[in-house]
Symmetry: C2
Subunit: 357 residues, 2 copies
DNA sequence: CTGAAAGCGCTTACAG
DNA sequence: CTGAAAGCGCTTACAG
């Protein structure tokens, strides 16, 4: 490794001057010296030692990617195509702007805290964190942060939310199913820690609330269903267990109810695909006997037969935006808006059939 | 953050002594002092500053996870369920033993080199690297390394390969298809950089070779097909493009050939699933008209209809083993074997039908 | 048995 | 306009 000292030697100046040029503190350095040093820096592809940077409190250029849940759909989270794609996108963008991504298994706050302070990360990106959980952490950790797919009520400017317009996504699903003749369609979502606790309580009271994306989706769905003056009861919001076996059991129990409703909106493609196969195994034809809509438009949505009607979100863009916003915060900018929501779009394929008469 | 100095102050000793206790250099420290210091260390949950550790050349506790390809199946690699699961497993295990995982987009060697030396990583885990590419890197970078799913011919002890028994996997597929009445089955694999270049050349000459897992699988497949004295030509090894559109074109072109063969073994579940749907769209029934076998047993293998017959590999275990071996190398152990291959097992489901007569 | 001191590669307030 | 020196938190050879 080439050191600052080496550069200084080559240029015939002191380390101080090189450092000053490096940091743009060039007010009182001659143009000649600047040019000379810059050239040498270039030629030698100088990279400051990270250990030193950390020690001198100049940040680490590390972005911690905190995954708030260990398992989704009963599999390790990073297996989830959505998380995988998001991570790919974040990693890619970070690399482009000279940051490094360190993965933090975020299931326990203590752990996040420990890694973040030990590594002196410059910023954090959270996925799968509720506002409450984040605030808990926030009190003990003063870092720039971007939350992905978390909805907040309070207005604060030390963190940001990057998401998609989940409400609109849910709304589009609701509207479409209504139009296709399913005024009693259900909305099915996999349980998260949040949903399992406080959120459900708040949901039951039909009051406005914040939480994870799935709840927003339901709210949109509900609003669409109610647009002609009908009431869409909270009972049509079905929360199913995270564990695959238990989920299957619940599906079996609720099958008559599903068939009566005629159509199901899902919070994820994964669950929608799972349902399509579950129904296949029970001799029930999709969409002839039951219509199904997903969310995400993951790569398997086009694979499954019938091809899945779903809501497309641009995960790659989400990752890029998250990194970009975080970078700006790290560099000291104050961003005007708290939320960034990318638009979503219903992709109609073959898993919904218009109800007769 | 609590510093070494703070601990020393509390114990009423010097930093040196604390450091000595920390590193087990306790030959000439009184038991009393040791106990006292250890207790304080515990109580304060002391964690040495990483920047200092890096600066004093004591390693970084970083494991670089190098992903050798940007895209698989035309999607970002970390979206691939296999990579995702492997990453999850590595991350988990690393966290358990106090290491940290940094992702390195490994498509260019220069980049890997730069990050590895700048961060002074303790070790590297490579996925999707050919032996040739790794050796190239190896000359400029002296780090402990574990290669996942790369097969090597040379015997060296400064790196390790962790894989599954791909040969056996291919063999099991070949044997099964033979037994089910398909002596002319084909083996279909997605192109990699290696396959596109040197390996194909070597393959054509039917000589022994090293490369990525897919080639081993084909070798096993071929051996099984040849066990009754028949010859299995290299022409039955079909390499298809990485780009989805091109792949589809090739499938269309080769469809008559596929149907004549009656059965296809695939190098990955992804490609097998893709084929099942491709066939569905062309009105061809699986397994009635064409039998299909996958590889990996990913979570979608049970989802697709017909459920996919495939080779199961234990990806989680692979990740754990990779980290464990790397740790031992980092700690200075010399490991006796170069290869670790986990066994694989054919999982028979519904995508192969016995050929009549 | 224990501690003072030098050094890792950088930054920055300060002196010239 | 430029550089000598102190300091970040740790390790380690060395002196006592």
């Amino acid at each position: 490794m080439i050191r600052l000292q080496d550069i200084a030697d080559m240029a015939g100046v002191s380390r101080t001057t090189v450092s000053n040029v490096l940091h743009g503190k060039t007010k009182r350095v001659s143009q000649e010296t600047i040019d000379k040093i810059k050239k040498i820096l270039e030629e030698n592809d100088y990279q400051p030692n990270i250990g030193s940077m950390m020690l001198t409190g100049k940040g680490s250029r590390i972005i911690g990617f905190v995954i708030g849940y260990d398992y989704t759909h009963g599999y390790p989270s990073t297996m989830d195509p959505f998380i995988g794609q998001l991570l790919a996108s974040i990693q890619n963008q970070a690399e482009k702007i000279g940051y490094y991504v360190m993965i933090i298994g975020g299931s326990t706050e203590k752990h996040v805290l420990e890694i973040a302070s030990r590594w002196n990360v410059d910023g954090l990106i959270f996925i799968g964190y509720s506002e409450g959980r984040y605030r808990e952490l926030r009190r003990k950790l003063n870092k720039k942060a971007v939350l992905v797919d978390t909805y907040t009520l309070q207005k604060e400017y030390d963190y940001q939310n990057v998401g998609i317009d989940d409400y609109s996504g849910g709304y589009q699903v609701g509207e479409y199913l209504l139009e296709m003749g399913y005024p009693n369609a259900l909305y099915v979502v996999e349980e998260t820690k949040v949903l399992a606790n406080e959120a459900v309580r708040r949901l039951r009271s039909d009051k406005p609330f914040a939480g994870l994306c799935n709840e927003k989706r339901w709210q949109g769905f509900k609003a669409a269903m109610e647009k002609n003056g009908n009431f869409c009861s909270i009972r049509r919001f079905i929360v199913v267990p995270r564990e695959a076996q238990l989920r299957k059991l619940q599906y079996e129990r609720m099958l008559p109810q599903f068939l009566e409703a005629g159509a199901l909106g899902f919070g994820s493609d994964y669950n929608a695909i799972e349902m399509i196969n579950f129904l296949h195994d029970h001799g029930i034809k999709v969409p002839d006997q039951l219509s199904v809509v997903g969310f995400d438009d993951c790569m398997y949505a086009e694979f499954i037969r019938p091809r899945l009607t779903t809501v497309r979100q641009d995960v790659l863009r989400k990752g890029i935006t998250a990194v970009e916003r975080l970078r700006r915060m790290i560099e000291g900018e104050t961003l005007p808006e708290m939320y960034v929501s990318a638009p979503v779009e219903l992709v109609v394929r073959d898993s919904v059939r218009r109800r007769d008469g």
